[in-house]
Amino acid sequence: MNGSNTVKTEDLVPAELVARCRAALGEGGRMQFMYAWFPEGPMAPELRYVLHPGRARPPRIWRCRPGDVPPPSLASTAPLLSWYERETTDLCGVVFRDQPLPQSLVLLPGSRSDRPPLVPGPMAHLSYTPSPQDLPELAGTTPEDVQLLPFGPIRADVLESAQFAFLYAGEAILHYHPQLFFKHRGMEQRFEGLAPMLATVLAERVSGIGSVAHALAYCHAVEAAADCEVPRRATWLRVLLAELERIYNHLHYLGHLCHTTTLKVGEAQGKYLEESAKQINSRVSGSRLLRGLIMPGGLRREPQLAGLVAGLARLENEFQRYADRLAATTSHLDRLMTTGILGRQLAFDQGATGPVERASGLDRDSRRDQSYGAYAELPLSIAIGESCDAYARQQVRIAELFNSIAIIRAVLAGLPEGRLRTECRPPPRSEGLGWAETPRGTAYYAVHLDADGRLARVKIKSPSFSNWRVFPYTVHDSNMMDYAINEASFGLTVAGCAR
């Protein structure tokens, strides 16, 4: 399905890494993520780097065994890799030479683990004594004018737990530091030892509002490992589920964005439309978050499609009126325009993905560029923004929402007959890479199976891990009044980031 045969794996020695990374970037490539695992026991980590050599080309994997010498950090060459390296240090115990910011990332300051949790062996024991964050010294200001506002981890309203530190003077934010890993659940480790089929239930629960896309990326990886071909009908229905997920997420996004610009009726309408979409989900799948249908090899059962055409037509009609109203509301638009500028180069260097990246002018969407499932046969159009601000991020999502409805309509019109699933049993010691475009950007799953055909290592690269890394760059030197709007315009989830 993912063209598993086209993902090339290449062995590199540590000394080559920096030069090869530089060369790949020079040729228009892009690093995606890296991780470590232990195929030869706890003393011999193996590093994997996943990159795209260029647009519309299949991903490539670099495999590297560092041996006794610490591998070089690539953070100065491809900055987005910095977080992955720090996570690998925290969880796998691999230290990188010349990592510019060697502090722990995923394990909070003040936590101690008796052993790196993802190294094979007994369960790690974590202890934790809260300790203050490392905040930068601010130069060039009179210290007494700068105030520290710590916020969280329990925040007002019904929100995910995360802690933010603002260093500010008056209305101006000088520095912003998010601590996003209070919710780290060790999800990757929870996959280990499970049968690939059953672990789909877990993949649906990594990021609840991305259940479909996470299950898809996971199943793509398992299917790549098993080298199995999913029946056409299932690939079409998977697209339908994935686009239903995009619809309810984007509607929530717009409702929440209106909340931050204090457009009360706009908020109510956005959240009402989200509720309508979730009720459609429930009729289609039995789950308001569209869980419980996707499995490796296809789908578990037929979704209920009766009434979906009419339901979508009504939703589209109401959404059109809502979008028109938003487009005519200057008080709302004024708050979005020029807020939270994310330049194109910055978006690329730090690894922005999804609508955030596209709103900064980067024309990339895995549904088209590393096409999977039935997307190549469907009327997919990729929305690109130019203004790099909160307004562009809103506009990209509005355009995507209309396109999702059009795609679902095309699925229903041309849905092929046939089987729903095929046998999918990845052989022992096999591995696979899978991806899917969530409403927030590209999610990747890398799976490795052990000698018994059970999961030995699952790496999850979630889009919010990427976009949370980018987000603070748009907050430094902005102002307090715009913060909530800017954060809402990114549409982030902590659960996906912290895992």
């Binding site: 974590l126 019904v158 060790g186 609840g208 039995g286 789950s287």
Partner: protein
């Protein structure tokens, strides 16, 4: 904002009409058509030596336990994540899909299936609770490591469809003003401290609700190096609500139950079917 800017939205909102649904309180709330709740269990259909359902249950809600001369199945809905895997794995139809979602329970034991399920004669109203909190009940929500699925449904409570405010229930920012600590997630090592601090900051009398299967028992995500098993051994719980995630009317039902405004419907892992059509698919 000028009138010119606000008037179109006012008219737009008025033109939408009222979308809030009536709260019937009988598990037949509108908008939940085809929603799959906890699978129903009928042990009479089990065959000896079969363990297909237990093998297909990731969170361990279905287990084989020694009982008499042979093993029997133990079904704990406090661990169920409604993935429906047991329904598909069972060769004899002992597990069947249902609309049963009103699984809020004041006791952990009532989420475990027992043969001797008895219908309650209605919960005795504690007038004091109703008098004090009946129309003004304030919730402090704490995410202790959820997947954000529960938050998605909690946020839906304030959409115009459910409009929680009309029932006199509100979310509040400060634990000092809160009557209920509503917890989601399996409780990560880092959220345990802040969670306990929030509880300590609340004035008495105070209630605790474990919302979602993770908070009830850990679910699929609990355990491991970073998580506990929900509120077990962390806080005293007044209301358990499994579900993955619980749908908004299930949350409303559990909240009203806490306020003695509706009776508990689950006993011995089964819904009391009197006065409701739960289980029959909604038209």
């Amino acid at each position: 904002m000028t009138l010119k800017a606000t008037l179109p939205w006012t008219l737009f909102g008025l033109a939408q009409g009222r979308v809030t649904t009536r709260w019937r309180g009988k598990g037949t709330e509108p908008g939940q058509a085809a929603f799959l709740g906890m699978p129903r269990f009928d042990p009479n259909r089990c065959t000896d030596g079969c363990r297909e359902c237990a093998d297909a249950c990731l969170p361990g809600a279905i287990r084989l336990v020694p009982g008499g001369d042979r093993e029997r199945l133990s079904v704990d809905y406090g661990r169920c994540v409604v993935c429906q895997m047991c329904v598909e794995a069972c060769p004899t139809g002992a597990f069947t899909p249902s609309n049963d979602w009103a699984f809020g329970s004041g006791t952990r034991e009532d989420l475990v299936w027992t043969r001797a399920a008895t219908s309650p004669q209605g919960v005795a109203l504690k007038r004091e609770i109703r008098r004090v909190f009946g129309r003004s009940f304030h919730i402090r929500h704490v995410d202790a490591g959820s997947c954000n699925g529960c938050e998605s449904e909690l946020q839906a409570l304030n959409n115009p469809y459910y409009n929680l405010h009309r029932l006199g229930v509100f979310f509040t920012a400060s634990p000092r003003f809160a009557d209920l600590l509503l917890v989601t997630g399996p409780v990560t090592y880092a959220m345990r401290g802040p969670l306990l601090e929030a509880f300590e900051a609340m004035p008495e009398p105070r209630f605790v609700m474990a919302a979602g299967t993770c908070a009830v028992s850990g679910g699929t995500n609990g355990g491991g190096y970073a998580c506990g098993n929900g509120l077990e051994n962390v806080l005293p719980v007044d209301m358990y609500l499994p579900g993955c995630p619980p749908n908004p009317p299930a949350i409303i039902h559990a909240l009203l139950m806490l306020l003695q405004r509706v009776p508990q419907r689950v006993r011995g892992g089964q819904l009391d079917s009197r006065g409701s059509s739960a289980g029959e698919p909604y038209a």
